[in-house]
Amino acid sequence: MQQRRQLDEKQINRELLNGNLETPKWYYPVMGVLGVGVLIGFATILYMFNRGLGVTGLARPVYWGLFITTFVFWVGISHAGIMISAILRLTQAEWRRPVTRAAELLTVFSLLTALFFPLVHAGRPWRIAYWLIPYDWARGIWPNVRSPLFWDPIAIGTYLTGSTLFLFVALIPDLAILRDRTTGIKKTIYSMLALGWRGNPRQWQLQVVAGVLLSALMLPIFVSVHSIVSWDFAVTPAVEGWHSTIFAPYFVIGAVHSGVSAVVTMMCLMRWLWKWNNYIRPEHFDALARLLIIVATAWLAFTFLELIFSLYGRDAPEIALRELQMFTWPWNLIFITFLLTGYIIPVGCWLFKRCRNNIAVMFWTSILVNVGMWLERFLIIVPGLSRKQVFVYTWEGYWPSPVEWIILVWSFAWVSFLMLLFAKFFPLVPLFEAKESQVFTTEMKVGRATVPMVIRE
């Protein structure tokens, strides 16, 4: 709050709409590179559909590999939006204001991308309809509601719909600002999207109530989604390392860790690319890093709890699996990298204020977290399947093929492409929140010090 500057509405409009009303020089070259990446990715997916799953590294008994790892990873990233937006809204945290839109957007696009992966993983995505939608009226075949694989699309569908609506409702006042700043066809489109918003007290009151009410509704959904994703694994008794009672909270806290880190990455990029230094300030990174230290430590506690529970049972196959994960090449390298990048290096940096206030350090540490979190999902999913078990007569190590690596890289290009596309047409920082902050924040003299003061209704 100490770094806040008094800004008028014209300046806020001019600065925060700089990417919408003008096109930065870097925009088209970056979009071009990302677009090529997206096209290569889609071409690879089509190639895989044509040739079959044989072009991947998947083989008995490892049927779930990089695609499902990446699916869980993107669902995890999607938890950024509601964690940041809903919890901070409900607790009236003043520093949430520049962060909420980007976080909600990340939720929507990462969920969209996550949904691709089960489809791609199925190899023949058109057959998804056989278990996803109750389409076969003639033969009376219905989806099996007892299967977690059916719970997944229902939970993710609910979360995606809710998050999209949440994003749209909060966007309406900003759409009205864009409507008032554009001409021609753009004005017509923004006018339609703004739904005739005028900004009277009733509309503002409903906007504030909507933020709180939707936050309260979205929070339980947010918790349920990654819990249900975890049950894809946890209700499978046959695979060691998967059948765990603490998977639901473990997955949720891990998702928050990776999601909030992804928001930090995005905020760094927003500050650098659009020069929003007046809005995304070091104090915001400081607050997020403090939050992340708590989240990361809670997540680490769950990581060790999960390990301790499995060892405490003294079940020989379970102990053998842990030996494989931690002490056998190459899993031991992945395990060490995961611990270093997921916790030790970033949290070690965030303990120091100088690091928390350094945008470059925050950028790289937040990326490290997500490298670690991706490796964590890989370590959970693959070793349990690849280990030789009783009555399993074929087994082999799994290594993703180039097709899988390309599709993994495609997912990052795809999310970045969608984010930049959105940023061209809609503001990434909520303007009305920035303006409200100016109205509700003032300065007060205490002795010889001038301190910021936030007014709360």
Binding site: W142, V145, L165, D180, R198, P201, V439
Partner: protein, 170 residues
Amino acid sequence: MSKISILGLYDNPDSAADALDALSEAGFDSNNFDVLTGTPYPEGAFGEHVPQHRLFRFPLFGAIVGLTLSVFLTSTTQIVYPLITGGKPILSIFAMLVIMYEMTMLSAVITTVIGILFESRLPNISMNVYDTRITEGLIGVSLVCTSDKKETAERALNSAGSMEIKSSGR
């Protein structure tokens, strides 16, 4: 008598609040005038009537609808195709609860958003006069009245220090 829409523009909240007082004193009904801002101000900042809403009924209604539909979906689809899997009962309550929970929440969220739009009176296709400078910091006091009261309204708006007054016929 034809109706007209009048808009007075102010550069500070105090003048806008004075304009509302002046309109009330001039005999205009508070239901016919409104304050338009580009920023959410605290409730009652302009001395305006604090609007009442019934938004909280919408999620409740949506939750009931969603729960009913989900009970129907999860139970009837299992009964019409009674395939026992893993020795679990056909109506496996825990599994049904997951679907019921998600559908209840989905329906509650959708009806809440419908409620937000309905209670905000959106979409709004009225042709009342508007000024794009409102989203740049000016505060608008908007009024709908019959054309014979135009001069009285303009006088009231001017008395509060209006920067500009715009009007349009309806």
